[in-house]
């Protein structure tokens, strides 16, 4: 039982963490609550489905999909979000409209029937007595590599320094000669890159359908605030907590597995009662 929870929880953690890190980055630097984040993840899953079914090789399909997503995301940001960036509620609704737009475009082009993407590695392996699909392993590896890559970029490069500076204090970073607008666009691209990779990694695991962005969106939002807005470490830990909460519900309360999202959110709300600023958020975040 413990082993099952551990293994399945890890897979979900990897996916949620990729999404939450990207979302958290965009929020931290751009102060944009991007409700379309997981919609791009959904489009990436369809991208890989389309390119894989039209006979491109897998590597080329991955490259084309990620490039397409990043380009489309930056274009949307420049066209619709940046001009109204100062008005938070307007940004919220604009990103929601983008999410609905992406969903409807996918509906028009692919229809609503669930699609299947062949796994990169089929079959399964027994890990400590638990049956784990090889594709789950691939997903986990992709997640680990992306997260390590993101960590390396953020902590060891000059760009990473600029990103972290902008995340900490946008105005001061601007005064220090960092082109904040440019950094924001780069971060938008980086966040969507993570979303696209997550979408590609889970496409063979989850059903590819136009509505697949809703549930991850709720979880990612919850993970990011649970960890504390603006704290990247918090986003990752929040994602891991919620993933394990969901998986534990499935194993411990089998008759209630439909309640897994509700219970994960209940945990988030309970944490808020104790720490209103999330686990790793700073209580003065508001004043910035």
């Amino acid at each position: 039982m413990v082993a099952s929870i551990l293994v399945n929880g890890l897979v979900y953690s990897g996916v949620y963490a990729m999404l939450a890190l990207g979302f958290g980055l965009v929020f931290g630097v751009g102060r944009v609550l991007n409700l379309a984040h997981t919609a791009f993840y959904m489009v990436a899953a369809y991208g890989i489905f389309y390119f894989a079914s039209t006979g491109f090789g897998m590597p080329l399909a991955v490259v084309l999909t990620t490039l397409g997503i990043v380009a489309a995301g930056i274009a949307v940001y420049k066209l619709f979000i940046e001009p109204v960036r100062e008005m938070e509620a307007t940004v919220l609704i604009a990103t929601l409209a983008v999410a609905v737009l992406l969903q409807e475009l996918v509906l028009v082009f692919f229809g609503n029937e669930p699609r299947h993407v062949p796994p990169a590695l089929s079959g399964f392996t027994q890990v400590v007595g638990v049956r784990v699909g090889n594709q789950e392993m691939v997903t986990l590896v992709v997640a680990a590599l992306s997260l390590i890559g993101a960590w390396f970029l953020l902590s060891r490069t000059k760009l990473g320094l600029a990103i972290r500076a902008a995340a900490q204090d946008r105005e001061v970073a601007n005064l220090m000669g960092i082109n904040v607008n440019q950094v924001t666009a780069i971060v938008m691209g980086l966040g969507l890159l993570l979303a696209a990779l997550a979408g590609i990694a889970v496409a063979p695991l989850f059903t590819v359908e136009p509505g697949m962005w809703m549930n991850p969106l709720v979880i990612v939002l919850a993970a990011v605030v649970l960890g504390g807005l603006g704290s990247l470490k918090g986003s990752l830990i929040g994602a891991v907590i919620l993933a394990f909460a969901e998986v534990s519900v499935v194993f411990l309360v089998p008759g209630g597995s439909y309640l897994r999202t509700a219970i994960a959110l209940l945990i988030m709300v309970c944490v808020f009662f104790i720490r209103p600023e999330g686990l790793f958020g700073s209580s003065i975040a508001e004043e910035r």
Partner: protein, 350 residues
């Protein structure tokens, strides 16, 4: 006779001088006179839903637009109002005039229950915590299908009135009265305090305002209004069924936000404009091009917000009216001098 003349003069001096007031007058009059023009049940039903959703959108505007307490889970209030009245109606057989106030009361309670723990949360934390509540209530509804009807919902709900026209006048009447009352609240000292909480809560507290009490009041009032809309919806001819997939969905939570931001936040008339443009549009698109309706809808919202980020009604008002720089009285944009103090307006930029 005297009152008649008084009314006429009031009309001439206070309403006809400003295009926005004329628009409101024409809007209310045409809403009330609509059944004289057409009694088509489909149009009436569409307007009934539009009126209900206006009330729902205004309730969001009051809480989130005015006090800045962004709620992304407003379906909780709409849904608890709808569920409470539907449950009372189908289990106990109570008539609508008893269940609707009860639904509104339950939603008020929900507003307080959510409001108290959320007092400590700021901005985005609040937004996302509220997002969670309708999802958790959905879990509760699904967990007790015997009582709540589960995902299939409740359907043995008494009808509001026997004819469509009566229902139309009842709902439109309730909507107009409630909105007028909220407009008065928003324009009063309370409304001013709401604004101040949004702009700078610390400063408001420093001035000796008990912001906690006012925030809770905003939650309760917003919950009451949304709950009333939900309860009326449950009994209306548009619903006939109260199911979690409809009244507690994520989409139901986002809808009032879309309408209000689209129309213009913290204005009361903004959300109404938003609903009266967007809902009939969506309903018509569903007949004309069902496949592309949401696509058109999303594009429209995106472009309007791109070019009118403060909302469409705010944009229109700022285009057709000018504020006098010296006495802050509003004037029609074509006027050359202020109607109150006579200051020249001609070269002013909006």
């Amino acid at each position: 006779m005297y009152y008649g003349r008084y009314l006429l003069r009031y009309l001439q001096n206070e309403i006809l001088v400003l295009p926005s007031r004329v628009i409101v007058l024409v809007f209310v009059a045409s809403l009330l006179a609509f059944p004289l023009i057409s009694q088509d049940p489909n149009l009436l039903r569409m307007l009934i839903v539009t009126a209900l959703f206006s009330l729902y959108a205004v309730s969001w505007d009051l809480l989130s637009g005015y006090t800045g307490q962004i709620s992304l889970g407003h379906a909780l209030f709409f849904g608890s109002g709808a569920y409470a009245s539907a449950l009372l109606s189908s289990h106990l057989g109570l008539p609508p005039y008893a269940t609707i106030p009860a639904g509104a009361a339950v939603a008020t309670l929900a507003g307080l229950l959510v409001g108290i723990p959320c007092l400590r949360l700021r901005k985005h934390y609040l937004a996302l915590a509220t997002l969670a509540f309708p999802i958790m209530l959905t879990g509760l509804v699904l967990a007790f299908p015997g009582f709540s009807g589960g995902e299939g919902g409740i359907w043995r709900i008494a009808r509001l009135t026997s004819t469509r026209i009566e229902e139309y006048y009842l709902i439109v009447g309730v909507m107009l009265v409630a909105v007028f009352a909220l407009w008065k609240v928003a324009g009063s000292r309370v409304g001013l305090i709401f604004h101040s909480i949004r702009e700078d809560e610390t400063a408001a507290r420093a001035l000796g305002i008990n912001t906690v009490r006012y925030k809770l009041f905003a939650f309760a009032l917003s919950g009451f209004t949304a709950g009333m809309a939900g309860a009326l919806y449950a009994h209306s001819s548009a619903a006939r069924i109260v199911a979690p997939g409809v009244v507690l969905s994520l989409f139901m939570s986002f809808q009032p936000v879309i309408w209000t931001i689209f129309g213009g936040a913290a204005t009361i008339y903004g959300p109404i404009t938003g609903v009266f443009i967007l809902y009939p549009l969506l309903d018509t698109l569903n007949v004309v091009i069902p496949k592309y309706r949401m696509l058109v809808f999303a594009l429209l919202v995106l472009f309007i917000l791109r070019f009118m980020p403060h909302g469409i009604s705010t944009w229109i008002r700022d285009t057709i009216e000018r504020v006098c720089p010296s006495c802050q009285v509003r004037n029609i944009a074509t006027r050359q001098a202020c109607r109150a103090c006579g200051v020249e307006l001609r070269h002013m930029q909006p």
